[in-house]
């Protein structure tokens, strides 16, 4: 049998993401094995473990998964903090850990080790795709982000990529993570942008609660000729986009965008099973499931970790987002992102991201940071 451990934050504030990720993983395994849940005649056994979003528990659970349950491959977790605590365990037990969907760059950067792969996108991919989508000559951009590593790293990557497109950054605004009142931040941005020339955009990088977009939009940035821009999000959060039709940005996944058989199957099956469309992290989870099956098939089994790693390095496989490829250097999955524009459509109570163009994996120069 093939033992796969899904170690993720089932309970806690990211519960909704976790559920999506898990459904995706199961669908991925199912699709890749044609519903048999067997690879080369060996049964897949899935072990679930709940990190409770706590790094120490996540670490203990991964040890348990590798040590006591003898899992061949582990997948997870949702939170970057937990992921970082888990990385050394993979190295110690010499087993593969596929990180999905935690995003921190350092997972495939300075804290990386050869047993770590990531199917989810990293922060740089997010930021750079947005830069590619928004940038261009004569574009002037201000950023608004949370004042901690996630926000600052995101802006740094965004800035770097944006400069290549010929656009300029006019102002960077950082606010505390738990900010609820954005009046002051907006005033500062307006004050700094009011007298500039060009196509003015305000790019917002935000994770978690609070809703800067809606509140800043309510302060009528168009008075100063400023347009709001932001990346994609889970479906529930797209409701906030409804207030800002025409907003552009880059997204990781929206179920109507990718056109390929896997995605068709995913959307259809998801509607059948859950009566709702697949979301952000469903797609990611599925990509991880597909990668596992593909890798085991190529390595001819899951017992030999070195063979697995060898099979996975540089491996290209099909996902609901089209082909992905594990980059050899840092095991980060290269993938397409989607430049979108928000539209309002009948029957949908959220702002629909409509594809402007697909940003292929070669178009983005994602830095390798694990050296």
């Amino acid at each position: 049998e093939i033992r796969i451990a899904h170690v993720y934050g089932k309970t806690g504030s990211l519960e909704a993401y976790a559920a999506q990720s898990h459904n995706g993983l199961m669908l991925g395994l199912e699709y890749a094995t044609n519903g048999t849940m067997e690879i080369n005649g060996e049964k897949i056994v899935l072990i679930e473990k709940d990190t409770q979003l706590k790094p120490d528990i996540g670490r203990a659970l991964l040890e348990e998964a590798y040590g006591d349950d003898d899992a061949h491959i582990a997948v997870g977790p949702v939170s970057s903090g937990v992921a970082l605590a888990m990385l050394p365990v993979a190295e110690e037990y010499e087993r593969v850990l596929i990180v999905e969907p935690a995003v921190a760059d350092s997972i495939t950067g300075e804290n990386w080790n050869p047993y770590i792969f990531r199917t989810g996108r990293n922060s740089s991919q997010d930021a750079i795709s947005n830069a590619v989508a928004l940038g261009g000559e004569g574009v002037v951009v201000a950023t608004l982000a949370q004042d901690y590593a996630f926000g600052r790293d995101g802006v740094a990557a965004f800035r770097e990529a944006l400069e290549e497109t010929g656009a300029t950054i006019a102002h960077e605004e950082y606010v505390p993570t738990d900010t609820t009142d954005f009046t002051a931040a907006a005033e500062r941005i307006f004050t700094n942008m009011a007298d500039l020339e060009g196509e003015k955009k305000l790019f917002i990088i935000w994770a978690g609660g609070g809703n800067p977009m809606g509140k800043i939009n309510a302060m009528e940035p168009e008075r100063f000729g400023i347009e709001i821009a932001s990346g994609g999000n889970i479906l529930a959060a797209l409701k906030a986009h409804k207030e800002i039709p025409g907003m552009e940005g880059a997204t990781y996944y929206y179920y109507e965008i990718p056109q390929n058989p896997i995605n068709e199957w995913l959307v259809k099956t998801h509607f059948e099973r859950f009566d709702s469309p697949p979301d952000f992290f469903t797609a990611g989870g599925m990509a991880a499931g597909l990668a596992i099956v593909e890798a085991i098939k190529r390595a001819g089994g899951a017992e030999d970790t070195d063979a697995l790693i060898e099979a996975m390095e540089g491996m290209t496989w099909e996902t609901p987002k089209g082909p992905m490829q594990f980059r050899v250097e840092d095991h980060q999955a290269m993938q397409s992102m989607y430049h979108f524009r928000t539209e309002i459509q009948d029957g949908k109570d959220y702002g629909v991201p409509v594809l402007v163009r697909e940003i292929g994996m070669d178009e983005m120069n994602i830095p390798v940071r694990n050296q």
């Binding site: 120490d56 040590g67 050394p88 901690y148 590593a149």
Partner: protein, 352 residues
């Protein structure tokens, strides 16, 4: 001899004595009695949290001081080891330097907090400590270059203490550095606990109790209350920092969520209160039960949910994903049924 070790503070209840003995035996023999890395990890965690809860009991149960900054001291100890290990490289010297500097930092901070703010009303002192603790958490998140920010720090400890160090077999169990590491944690925890037990039963401990009861009168019979309170704060901070160092050595990872969060603060509070405030042994019982519940409640609920799957609604409520709800219920019930803590309850039974 035993009386001396326990500082004359015997458990004073047969059942309690039994419980404590069982706990001691299980912890002392954990690597051989249970198998699996998870069990060992749980045992180590129990040792560490016993010390942490006991140090908090010194402050809360004996000193009557409500502080929400205890995790901050815990964190200082942990970050001390983490920073030393990541900057000095793996090695015992790093562990030592880290623990000592973390502890010293904790004592200094405790001294400052104590002298400046122990004069205000209890509830406001609590709020001030909450503020200071959250300020420190903000600092940790801001100086991510040094502290790893929200993501925390991962580092290496001496090879002798990791599972890579294989030392042969004993009683059917592979003896690895990990087991050595466990005994380091266990021994240190035991010593620290006995030390705390001695302190609360010393003349100093008695004065603390008097101050808790009636600080006004304690001052009037010649005790400088501020100094005693500050001393208690420093002692408990120092022990908490050492517990943090042990945690860092055991975990080889330090981050805000594992050492600084308010959630852990509440866990400690619950351990002390369930166990029985002002009893020290309460910390042992409270920490053990709490960690066991935290670790195994979900598994338990999983089986319960399956067992009841025929019934309506019940399996939903017993769904392992809802384990937090039952933890909440546990919070409520334990305060309800053990108003004086488990230790208090056990001793009462004997008295009547």
């Amino acid at each position: 001899m035993i009386v001396k070790l326990l500082s004359g503070d015997q458990p004073r209840s047969v059942l309690l004595t039994l419980l404590l003995l069982v706990t001691l035996v299980c912890l002392a023999g954990a690597p051989f009695l249970f198998d699996g890395v998870r069990a060992l990890d749980t045992a180590a965690r129990i040792c560490i949290f016993i010390v942490l809860a006991a140090s908090y009991d010194l402050l809360l149960g004996y000193g009557g001081i409500v502080s929400f900054a205890h995790t901050m001291f815990f964190g200082l100890g942990a970050y001390g080891v983490a920073l030393a290990s990541s900057h000095m490289g793996r090695g015992f010297d790093a562990l030592l330097v880290g623990s000592v500097s973390g502890t010293v930092a904790a004592i200094i901070l405790a001294l400052l907090i104590g002298l400046f703010s122990l004069r205000v009303r209890a509830i406001f002192f609590a709020m001030i400590t909450l503020a200071v603790a959250s300020a420190l958490a903000v600092l940790v998140s801001q100086f991510s270059g040094l502290t790893g920010g929200e993501d925390g720090l991962t580092y290496k400890i001496p090879r002798a203490l990791t599972s890579a160090n294989r030392m042969g077999e004993f009683m059917g169990t592979q003896i690895s550095g990990k087991i050595l590491n466990y005994y380091l944690v266990f021994t240190a925890a035991l010593i620290l606990f006995l030390l705390l037990l001695r302190i609360v039963n010393s003349p100093f401990g008695r004065v603390l109790q008097a101050i808790r009861e009636n600080d006004f009168r304690a001052e009037a019979i010649g005790y400088r209350v501020i100094w005693y309170r500050t001393m208690a704060t420093c002692l408990s901070a120092a022990v908490a920092a050492l517990a943090g160092s042990l945690f860092a050595i055991w975990l080889r990872y330090v981050g805000p969520d594992t050492t600084l969060s308010f959630e852990i603060m509440l866990d400690i509070l619950l351990m002390v209160v369930i166990g029985g405030m002002g009893t020290m042994y309460g910390a042992v019982i409270g920490a053990t039960l709490f960690i066991l519940a935290q670790t195994y409640l979900q598994n338990l609920m999983g089986s319960a949910s399956e067992a009841t799957s025929a019934l309506p609604l019940v399996p939903d409520l017993l769904n392992p994903d809802r384990w937090l709800m039952w933890l909440g219920v546990l919070f409520i019930l334990s305060v309800y049924f053990f108003p004086t803590g488990i230790v208090g309850r056990l001793r009462e039974r004997r008295a009547s």
